[in-house]
Subunit: 375 residues, 2 copies
Amino acid sequence: MSQAPPARAGDPIDAIDTPALVLELAAFEANLEAMAAFVRGSGVRLRPHAKSHKCPEIAKRQIALGAVGVCAQKTSEAEAFVDAGIGDVFVSNEVVGRAKLERLARLARRAKVSVCCDDAANARDIAAAAQAAGSTVEVFVEVDVGQHRCGVAPGEPAVALAAAIASAPGLRFAGLHAYHGGAQHLRAVAERRAAVAQAAALARDTRARIESRGIACPLVTGGGTGTFAFEMASGVYGEIQPGSYVFMDADYNRNAWADAGAALPSFAQSLFVLATVMSAPAADRAVVDAGLKASSVDSGMPILVGWPGVAYAKASDEHGVLAIAPGARGPAPGERVRLVPGHCDPTVNLYDWIVCVRGDRVEAVWPITARGALA
Amino acid sequence: MSQAPPARAGDPIDAIDTPALVLELAAFEANLEAMAAFVRGSGVRLRPHAKSHKCPEIAKRQIALGAVGVCAQKTSEAEAFVDAGIGDVFVSNEVVGRAKLERLARLARRAKVSVCCDDAANARDIAAAAQAAGSTVEVFVEVDVGQHRCGVAPGEPAVALAAAIASAPGLRFAGLHAYHGGAQHLRAVAERRAAVAQAAALARDTRARIESRGIACPLVTGGGTGTFAFEMASGVYGEIQPGSYVFMDADYNRNAWADAGAALPSFAQSLFVLATVMSAPAADRAVVDAGLKASSVDSGMPILVGWPGVAYAKASDEHGVLAIAPGARGPAPGERVRLVPGHCDPTVNLYDWIVCVRGDRVEAVWPITARGALA
């Protein structure tokens, strides 16, 4: 049931059918290299989040540049990467329910598989599944360091869960997952720095308490595209998990990347939705063929590139309405435009293929293998 | 690259893997029958919009109950339905660009295919493609009756375009597409009635002007789930295009369906996202495994069913945070809950399969064949 690829390697970019998800390889490669260079020699490991791209071709390039493996967010997503030859996948999320845990434990026979846990009963279930499968699952205690989503409270509740995991057969206590998702999108650098400082302090204290019980806590992992430099500098985190840096999006582009304190590494926009104007019925309006099934609007409208005075104003299922300011020139029917998605992760998840371009040519078309991997 | 089906026919509903898109067959069948009964004998044709379901199994059931065919919104979507044996598909949208029009014209060799047009140059391009393919494409002039999206202005601009189409080789002028999308979600019945009255007046006047030039205007088509009864009553529309009525969603459920003037036919919620609680870390919070990749949030958060004092408060990519009011009981980890999607169309587009249930059993699992059909 996959859709036909919208282009073939070697095609001119004008031949790409629209709407299409397009990756500018020069910017993409620069982003991969910038992250790799920033991490290199730091003593901190890079484990990029693959929920952003869902694409083994991208994971392989990240690993070739030094990443230790990838994060996934669902068991089926992890499975897609293991099937593609990725040997080390961290499901940075809770997995609950017998069938899902059996699947996870079977996967751990084929690759190094780790998972989050925030509940003692769930730890027992993971252990039972691992024992039944004859595998070892590495388990991180997820600590709520400010996100207020999943995660056990820092301090003693986390210590008790770590102790339970450390003593469970079939499990290996791998450390703490201390991810602060809400911090990624705080706009000011100082706000993000402060949020991570607080998260790191909670993780440091929790780790010390665990170690004071004689339980080794090998790793604290966390951090995303908005904050990874702060986790790295904290002295607490041994691994970072940025995902969106490979693509960027309109929401991350609204973050500030420098303040009086420091400049953060920044990344170029490499991901676009290519759209065609299908109607220009009025002087103040044009309509493109990419609506909310082509660019997720959960974090706002996509941004139109290169048309001064013209903005993507409104999305319906299959239509995007461009508002043309008085005096501005809008695109004509048949013209092709580029959109920066509001939020890269759910936008990528709408497509079967990512069309990789360099200059005016399509260089490759990669399958988004884990598209729709919800289970 | 399709995902594995989350269940098999005959499974107990407890065996459905989550998140899953679930269709309650009893409610679904009642919705199909209610619409068919309302239309039967009215002289107005029903052409349901298949962009909502993207599922040939559903289209076949609509046609078995009297629908004349389906609407699709993209050429690739139309192709999926023709491939599945649907013989009459209206692409209720503009199709622009040579490759897309060649594809559309080829499709018209295999089925009755119609399309919208709001531009004379586009009409010439459709005609060229039809002539090259040796097919006839039926063309509706899309008139802007209040939606302010695509569509030529009513009155003389529409007449001129109709004349151009009527005289073009390879084309057949099929009438007017006069759809008012914005009217569907006006909350009060009186507001929707008034918006459609205005749309119908514009369509009536435009049709009269076209016919006064000696050009036959066989059909005015339009209307959605929120307004179809008003288009039917107008005496202008000969065909209605509702799509969401088969499923319903949180947004349509916020519409009023009766006022002092009249009661409209109403429909039961048949579509749900089945989710599992994966964390319950605090008394005021639980987290389900269905986030914004499992239920589109463009029209608001999904609605949790059956848990008084508990609400789906926040979606991230793979997490849904349930807020539990003081004193209310929330679901425990491993418990399964049902969500009513905020907006059915883009939610269905996130899934490869729709799991059809009756009572406590899975009766069928239907492929969402046109999922991702953007081109």
